[in-house]
C-alpha cells in the first residue's frame, strides 16, 4: 500500500514540475506575461544549445567548474585539518564553537567586496570567498565525525602503539568518514553557490558573470539561457554527489 502511495507521490511531483515548466512555455506565448519579462522555455533551451554549440559559453563553464573544484578541494582539506585540531584541542573548540554555530547566519558575501578590494578583480577573491563559505560545513561535520570514533578503537590503536598520524589514517579517518562526507556534501553546495554568486555580483568571467552580463546588455533570451545553465550545473553537481554517497554507503549498510 505504501509503495502504491510512493508511486502516486512521485507521479504527482513529476506532473507538478511538468506543469510548472509548461507554464514557463505557455505564459509568455499566450501573452499572460510581458514578452520583455519572460521568454518561453523553448527559446531558453534553443539559445542555451546555440551558446554551447558555438562554444561561446564553454570558457565560462570551464572557468566556473575549475573554481568550484578548486574551492571545494581547499575547503575539504582545510576543513578536515581544522576539524581534527578542534577535536584534539578542547580549548580551541570552546572558543570557536559559538562562531561556527552562527556562521551560516552571517552574510558572508559581504566580505566579497573586501576580498576584491584586497586582491583585485580576478579569480582569487572568488575562490577565497567560496572556500570561506564552504569550509565551515566541513569543519563542523569533521569535528563531529572525530567525536563519533569509538574509544575502544582509539585504545586498540594505542595498544598497537600507532603514531598519531597512523591512528588518524588507519582508525579515525575511516571511522569519521560518513560524517566527513556529510560535510563535504554540504561543501559542494556551498562551493557552487559561493563561486557563482560571487561571479554574479562582480567578476570578469564565469557562469554567474554571464547572467549579469546578459542582463546588463538587455539580452533576455541569453540571460535566461545562462540562468538555465547555472541551475543545470548546480543540479548536476548535487545529484552526482548524492549518487556517490549512495554508492559509498548503501542503505542496508547504514542500519
Amino acid at each position: 500500500m505504501s509503495r502504491a502511495r510512493d508511486r502516486r507521490v512521485l507521479l504527482t511531483r513529476t506532473l507538478v514540475i511538468a506543469a510548472a515548466l509548461a507554464l514557463l512555455e505557455i505564459a509568455p506565448r499566450a501573452g499572460m506575461v510581458d514578452a520583455l519579462t519572460l521568454v518561453p522555455l523553448s527559446d531558453m533551451v534553443v539559445t542555451l544549445g546555440g551558446g554551447i554549440g558555438s562554444g561561446e559559453m564553454l570558457p565560462h563553464l570551464f572557468s566556473t567548474g575549475a573554481m568550484i573544484l578548486g574551492s571545494f578541494v581547499l575547503a575539504g582539506v582545510s576543513g578536515v585539518v581544522i576539524g581534527y585540531l578542534l577535536w584534539r584541542y578542547t580549548g580551541l573548540r570552546r572558543a570557536l564553537d559559538p562562531y561556527l554555530t552562527s556562521y551560516y547566519a552571517l552574510p558572508v558575501f559581504a566580505f566579497y567586496p573586501v576580498l576584491v578590494a584586497i586582491f583585485g578583480l580576478n579569480r582569487t577573491p572568488v575562490v577565497l570567498l567560496a572556500w570561506a563559505y564552504a569550509s565551515v560545513a566541513v569543519i563542523t561535520n569533521a569535528a563531529i565525525g572525530f567525536d563519533s570514533v569509538h574509544t575502544v578503537h582509539l585504545k586498540t590503536a594505542r595498544v598497537y602503539q600507532l603514531s598519531a598520524w597512523q591512528t588518524l589514517r588507519r582508525v579515525q579517518l575511516p571511522a569519521a568518514a560518513p560524517h566527513v562526507f556529510a560535510g563535504l556534501k554540504l561543501a559542494v553546495t556551498y562551493s557552487v553557490i559561493g563561486v557563482i554568486a560571487s561571479e554574479f555580483i562582480l567578476a570578469t568571467q564565469g557562469l554567474g558573470w554571464l547572467v549579469s552580463f546578459n542582463y546588463n546588455s538587455f539580452a533576455l533570451a541569453e540571460m535566461y539561457a545562462s540562468i538555465l545553465l547555472v541551475m543545470a550545473v548546480a543540479v548536476l553537481v548535487t545529484s552526482a554527489v548524492s549518487l556517490l554517497e549512495r554508492r559509498l554507503w548503501p542503505k542496508e549498510r547504514q542500519a
Partner: protein
C-alpha cells in the same frame, strides 16, 4: 541539510577524549571567556599582517576603526545600514507569513507535503541570486525588487522546517484533536503550533538570516542604496577602511541579531514545554 549545518559542536554529554582531557586541568577562563578572546586574536593577527602588506592593500585595524567612527558621525554608515535593515525587516515579514502558511499547509496535507517537500529542499542547493535579474524585470530597480528577492530567499528554510516540524508531531495529538471535534483553526493554533514551536522558531531564525543575505546580495548587484550597494561602490573609489568598516558592521549586526533570536528561542521553547507540562497535569 540545514540541520547539519547548524548543529552545535560541543556535545556536553560526551567527555572530551584524547589530548583534550589534559588541557582540562589547565586553569581556564569563565564560560564566556574563550569565545570573547577570538575577536581579540583576530585583530592582533590582522594588525601583524598589516606590517607585511602596504596600507593601500590592507588597512590597519586603527584606520578601519577611524572609518567606522567617521561613518557613524557623517551618517553614511548608519544611513546605509538602516536602509538595508528596513528592507530586510519588510522582506522577513513577507517571508515569515508565506513560509509559515505554506509550511503549515504542507504539514497538514500529508500527501502534498510528500509531493512538494523534496522540491523545496532541492531549491536549497541552487544559487538563487542568479534569478535576481528576473525580480528586477518584474519589480523595477527600487526597494520592491530587493525586498521581494530577500523574501523569496528566506522563504524556503522556514517552509521546510515548519513542514518537518509538523510531520514530527505524534499522530496521537492530531487524532485527539479530531476526536475533540476541534475546528481546523483551533487545531492549528492549539495543537499543531505549540507542538511544532521549536521548528517554527529555528525556521524563523534561518528565514531572517537568509532574508538578510538575500537583500545584501541583491544590493550588491543592482540597487542605488543600502549597505551592499555601498560596499561595491567604494571598491572603485578604493576606500578600503570604509569597506572593511561596513562589512564588519554587517557581520556584527547579523551576529548580534542571530544570538538575540537564539536566546529568545531557547527561552520560549523551555517556557512552552513548561506550560504543556502544567496543562497535562
Amino acid at each position: 541539510m540545514m540541520d547539519s549545518a547548524a548543529t552545535t559542536l560541543s556535545s556536553p554529554a560526551q567527555p572530551p577524549r584524547g589530548r583534550g582531557r589534559k588541557s582540562g586541568k589547565v586553569p581556564r577562563l569563565g564560560p564566556g571567556g574563550a569565545p570573547a578572546l577570538v575577536p581579540v586574536v583576530l585583530v592582533v593577527v590582522w594588525q601583524l599582517a598589516t606590517f607585511f602588506v602596504s596600507e593601500s592593500a590592507l588597512p590597519t585595524p586603527l584606520a578601519t576603526g577611524r572609518a567606522f567612527v567617521d561613518g557613524v558621525r557623517d551618517g553614511w554608515l548608519t544611513t546605509n545600514l538602516w536602509a538595508t535593515l528596513q528592507v530586510v525587516l519588510a522582506a522577513f515579514a513577507i517571508a515569515a507569513a508565506g513560509g509559515l502558511a505554506v509550511g503549515v499547509w504542507l504539514g497538514l496535507q500529508r500527501f502534498w507535503g510528500d509531493v512538494l517537500g523534496a522540491p523545496l529542499l532541492w531549491s536549497y542547493a541552487l544559487p538563487k541570486i542568479t534569478i535576481f535579474p528576473i525580480f528586477l524585470l518584474i519589480f523595477g530597480l527600487g526597494d520592491a525588487s530587493r525586498m521581494a528577492f530577500g523574501a523569496f530567499h528566506g522563504f524556503f528554510p522556514l517552509a521546510i522546517l515548519v513542514l518537518g516540524g509538523i510531520n514530527a508531531i505524534p499522530r496521537v495529538y492530531l487524532r485527539a484533536a479530531r476526536s475533540l471535534h476541534l475546528s481546523r483553526w483551533t487545531t492549528v493554533t492549539r495543537v499543531v503550533f505549540p507542538a511544532a514551536l521549536p521548528s517554527v522558531l529555528s525556521g524563523l531564525r534561518f528565514c531572517f538570516s537568509l532574508c538578510f543575505l538575500g537583500v545584501v546580495l541583491a544590493e550588491m548587484f543592482g540597487s542605488s542604496e543600502g549597505a551592499g550597494y555601498e560596499l561595491i561602490r567604494r571598491i572603485t573609489l578604493r576606500e578600503l577602511p570604509e569597506i572593511f568598516a561596513l562589512a564588519l558592521s554587517l557581520m556584527a549586526i547579523s551576529l548580534l541579531l542571530n544570538l538575540l533570536m537564539l536566546t529568545a528561542e531557547r527561552r520560549l521553547v523551555s517556557h512552552g514545554t513548561a506550560t504543556t507540562r502544567r496543562s497535562n497535569r
